[in-house]
Symmetry: C2
Amino acid sequence: MAQDITPQGRPGEVVDIVVWNADGLAPVVTQQHDTGEVLMFAWADKAALLHTLESRRATYFSRSRGGQWVKGESSGNAQAVVEVRVDCDGDVILYRVDSPGPACHQLRRSCFSHRVESDGSVHTDRPIL
Amino acid sequence: MAQDITPQGRPGEVVDIVVWNADGLAPVVTQQHDTGEVLMFAWADKAALLHTLESRRATYFSRSRGGQWVKGESSGNAQAVVEVRVDCDGDVILYRVDSPGPACHQLRRSCFSHRVESDGSVHTDRPIL
């Protein structure tokens, strides 16, 4: 476990508080703000986090495309950001969003569409479309 | 994005489906099953995931201690596992748990105790104790 963070309430401090990995990224968990559903897991760099905070549109860093990814820019399924949180040691970011459409590229509500049974077998939810 | 997984419903397949990183670990998001609250973010290896599925006790791999970590074994704040899920490309695990006590070592309900404002300032929730 990394060291616990001690925020000062200073504008802009979040980029110094978050623990960025060797690639300059931090993991982001995204959940629907009212139902609590965990929608997806992705990554952000400093610019993506700042863009999220300023625009209130969930923005990520796409490792496959190597650049900023404003969710919904191509798919139309944008996520309006209700709240951004960071965890006790500053190495994970939480986006609490309003995501009216599917969050997953498979056009499912959530990326976590596979249920694991006690025997280790995996079962996929029906698609939403 | 990695390749989408295609589960077959075969007992034990989850350890082959999950994409383990170079250290043999996969990230785990843990949420309270009924409220949806995101409680913590941690890691699991194959043994920890299998222990979770068999025992229904949330089990992780502690990177600082370098070994299996059955949540609550030392703190008393165990997490009863209601459901285990994996995401579309198999590189993130979701534990849906019943966590009656604090999930965070800071004795807070959730590790995500810091709110980030639009100006990038960070503000900490009051402790629960």
